[in-house]
């Protein structure tokens, strides 16, 4: 009865991961295809990456996407962390139910609804749509993800650590920055990364809230995809996949390293060295 893999487990895992990865792999492979046809292999070539560099519209879109991503992820991380602290630490305040509802609802809310409602807000407020409206839209829906990630870390955090800090004379503000924040930092970083990639991915919200001169990469890709599959799009997608994969892998190696260090430390402590 010990944990072990049966042939059934191995088969389902194999098929599952082939299903998850094969389409992406095919997409990446065909970005290096010499032919314009994405179904016939005609030899290795990086020409589509080269032609991307000359595609000013695509480069502009990438630049907008990057700025929106960094800015919205950063604001969302601050807001989401505050929301998480509120949810975990402040048990009673007026409108708590509404607040927790507003934090969790965007996680499952169809993005067409969120997009439409935000657009109507911006129209009603009569603000020029563009970079800032996209950033606000992204901040709003990604802060909820940050809140959930940070909240799950805060719940497991030993409350007595904060109490000890206050007992030793730290003000609540100092306690937060010197004790709580360092301890929840991994979750905060993970929240930022999640917010950034969600912003990078988003098509629907951006499309609703964008204006003149603020085309994000997904909007650009979407408009091209509707016209058909091209190796250039494959190349853009490959670059995006590469960036995200490298980011995630670096982050997970960091986590693993820290874990290994912790185990080493514990061993050292156990042997009294």
């Amino acid at each position: 009865m010990r944990k072990g893999l049966s042939w059934f487990n191995v088969t389902s895992l194999t098929f599952g991961f082939v299903f998850l990865y094969l389409p992406i792999l095919i997409l990446v492979v065909f970005s290096f295809n010499r032919s314009r046809l994405v179904t016939v292999w005609a030899g290795f070539s990086t020409q589509w990456y080269g032609s991307l560099l000359n595609n000013q519209q695509m480069l502009d879109a990438a630049w907008v996407t990057l700025r929106v991503g960094v800015l919205s992820a950063t604001i969302a991380t601050v807001l989401g962390t505050l929301a998480a602290v509120t949810l975990v630490r402040y048990v009673r305040f007026p409108g708590r139910t509404l607040f927790s509802g507003m934090v969790f609802a965007p996680l499952v809310m169809p993005d067409v609804i969120t997009g439409l409602s935000l657009l109507l807000l911006f129209v009603a407020m009569d603000v020029a749509r563009g970079f800032w409206t996209i950033t606000i839209a992204h901040t709003t829906f990604t802060m909820c993800y940050v809140a959930v990630v940070v909240q799950s870390r805060l719940i497991t955090l030993d409350r007595s650590l904060e109490e000890a800090a206050m007992d030793l004379g730290a003000t609540p503000l100092k306690t937060f920055f010197q004790v709580t924040l360092p301890l929840i930092m991994p979750a905060v970083v993970a929240g930022w990364m999640l917010a950034f990639t969600l912003s990078l991915d988003d098509l629907v919200l951006a499309n609703f809230t964008t204006g003149v001169g603020a085309t994000t990469l997904p909007i650009k890709i979407y408009s091209q995809v509707r016209l058909g599959v091209t190796p250039e799009i494959n190349a853009v997608c490959t670059i995006l996949i590469a960036i995200v994969s490298v980011g995630v892998i670096i982050a997970s190696i960091g986590v693993k390293r820290r874990e290994a260090q912790r185990i080493r430390d514990e061993r050292l402590a156990a042997t009294g060295g």
Binding site: G16, V85, P218
Partner: protein, 307 residues
Amino acid sequence: MTDTSGTAAPAPGASKLRWLVVAIPYLWLVVFFLVPFLIVLKISFSTYAIAQPPYEPVFDQLSTVWERAQQFTLDSYRYLTEDPIYLRSYLSSLRIAAISTVLLLLIGFPIAYGMARAPSNMRTTLLMLVILPFWTSFLIRVYAWIGILKPEGLLTVFLQWIGIFGPDQQVHLLNTDWAVFIGIVYSYLPFMILPLYATLEKLDDTLLEAAADLGARPFKSFWVITVPLSMPGVIAGSFLCFIPIVGEFVIPDLLGGSDTLMIGRQLWNEFNANRDWPTSSAVAVVLLLILVVPIMIFQNYGRRTAQ
């Protein structure tokens, strides 16, 4: 979360800080999440106008009550009931979401189960492998399938190559409901696997040992112990997939055919092509009303498991 022991008496001077911590995210969500919904609600009760913005305001001016009552209209909602396309879209969305959720469960459960049974040093890597596609763009993942499913695409090439299809045969999957199901299952699979894995991984091994000790064979233990105890994950995963799938836009738009009716797509078209704001707002309000029940169940459930 509603544990009262968490309410520390605010220290003097700390209450201002407390207030700020609550107020900042609260205000943000009210302004950018709650108020927009109220506006959608308001516009759905307005009349359609060609002018920009394409709706007649309801409460904007300080008009008389009489005027308000006249401007308040259910036209958009009446329109939704008159044109059968809306009803059919709502029903079709629910049907597609329900079928997709069942498919996701059938495909996701064996994978999550395999992950949970894997040796612990392998589990982190497997988890990572499931999460990685989740980080890559939704749009990219849907796009990847276009190249595979289109008539002259890779699936056709592959089937012709292994000899199942003749040189003149092609797969006709793109722009059908089948392609939509494939796209949805592919895109939402991590959302189903992760909660399933979380409950299966927590499952106490000694329960299975106890079942075996009392005479249950492994297959029997799986059905009477593992499956019932993984229900929290099944429920969480199902809601996590079902709710957004109902409002899905990108997948039916890129993979579905012109006859693939989904309400998210209908809303998008109503808004972008027809520029009919009141009707699209009404579509959104009704969609939200349909989703309110599952969303409430999901939130209630999330709150209970968080405790």
